[in-house]
Amino acid sequence: MGTAIVMTSGKGGVGKTTTTANVSTALALLGKKVCMVDADIGLRNLDVVMGLENRIIYDIVDVANGDCRLEQALIRDKRFEHLVLLPAAQTKDKRALSVDKMVELVNELKQSFDFVMIDCPAGIEEGFRVAVAPADMAIVVTTPEHTAVRDADRVLGLLERDKVGEPRLVVNRIRPDMVKRGDMLDIDEIVQVLGCDLLGVIPDDERVIRNSNRGEPVVLDTSVPAATAYRNIARRILGESVPLMHLEEKSGLWGRLRKWVGGR
């Protein structure tokens, strides 16, 4: 029996889909059987990030309506045998999937996969409720901005109310230089406000966006620090204790010299 994990945030555009794609891929890299479920019906994206958009024949709504078998709708990843995607429908809207159907579907997937990763739509309405209902665990994604933190706070309140197993926090797109200058909320501040366990911190990197556009999750490119951050998250999900990465920017010759001469 696997674990269902929902990725949620409240606010849109903080990187739920990117995080789902990368963490799922990282779990697959670690040899787990993973199924990604795109619950953002009407606005599907996960297939694009995974580079699987041209393989979709059936979607989650077809499965729910009984128009096809579950296995027919699952799309196998190009790179990993044991990583599959259950895409959302693009033509329907959020009402096409009920809470009961979603729970039934995810429970069925949990029989054959170690992890079922649910990509939640933005907002806290029906779509959120449907995506969250089957989850055993929630990962709340936020960025170091007041708007995103406040929405994450709201979502955490809702998750606590619905008793979705202890939510954990991913802070996405942090920029160490801005934090240093005091222009961005720092991690401690966010964690203190949200009162929630930190699962990982992803440094901001344009290569994350570039790779998403190419349909190739950045986690496969080991030269990118964000990839390591995603892999660390996957390891933490599996129960390993991995220390947080150092987010100090790689300093050039001048930086090193300055450090050496005059302290910081």
Binding site: H146, R150, D153, R154, G157, V193, G195
Partner: protein, 230 residues
């Protein structure tokens, strides 16, 4: 609370003291002589046993049973109580009145303790005073008909004295609220973060002061304004 003034045994002392949640209740034997009561009371609260009553201000309720007291007798007994300066006589009357007073007193201020983080969009309201053990996050709202005390960071909106109680206060260990409301007065907090502060109304104007001024001020308030309201 137990108050029984009907069958008093002869061997009972002329004054019985009962400690209750509200304070001390003195039962004066309705058949005993006033001189006897005064003498007994005086030795009780100022003599050997007086040490028992030392400490902070305590609310005192006096029940003289069904006795018909003359004004002179009333003053004689009250004068004895005045010998202890930490006694605050809150009620003076025959059995039923006193019982009612202390009960009304208790009902008037329900008290709550809320453990946990108050998140945005999670409205909380309380009847009476509330102590929140945890933070109140930005854009979370806490309402109470009485006072609000936050043992943590107050970053959201606090509304004390919802029913119109202008003596209500909002206090926090870390005081950086988005907005403070007391009764119907709304105030936007300055962009600051202070520790151990509280907000109160003076006239119709909101004031913020350090917590170290809270206790003396609170006592004065308790003696004047609030008693009349009750």
């Amino acid at each position: 609370m137990i108050l029984e003034s009907e069958p008093l045994m002869d061997h009972r002392p002329p004054v019985t003291v009962k400690g209750t949640r509200e304070g001390l209740t003195f039962l004066l034997d309705e058949r005993a002589d006033v001189d006897q009561i005064c003498a007994y009371l005086e030795t009780l609260i100022t003599g050997e046993t007086g040490k028992l009553f030392e400490g902070p201000t305590v609310d005192v309720y006096v029940d003289y049973g069904k006795r018909a007291l003359t004004p002179q007798e009333t003053w004689r007994i009250l004068d004895v109580f005045r010998k202890r300066d930490n006694f605050l006589v809150r009620a003076w009357g025959s059995a039923k009145e006193v019982r009612d007073t202390s009960r009304r007193h208790r009902d008037a201020r329900a008290q709550h303790i809320y453990h946990g983080l108050v998140r945005s969009g999670q409205p909380l309201s309380f009847d009476g005073d509330v102590v929140i053990i945890g933070d109140v996050n930005p854009s979370a709202v806490v309402e109470a008909t009485g006072d609000i005390y936050v043992f943590g960071r107050l970053l959201g909106i606090a509304h004390a004295g919802v029913g119109g109680d202008e003596t209500a206060v909002v206090a926090a260990a870390e005081f950086a609220p988005m907005q403070i409301r007391i009764a119907d007065v709304v105030s936007r907090a300055p962009q600051m973060r202070a520790t151990m502060e509280y907000a109160y109304l003076e006239g119709r104007e909101m004031r913020v002061a350090e917590m170290k001024y809270f206790l003396p001020w609170h006592k004065i308030r308790k003696r004047s304004g609030r008693d009349e309201r009750r």
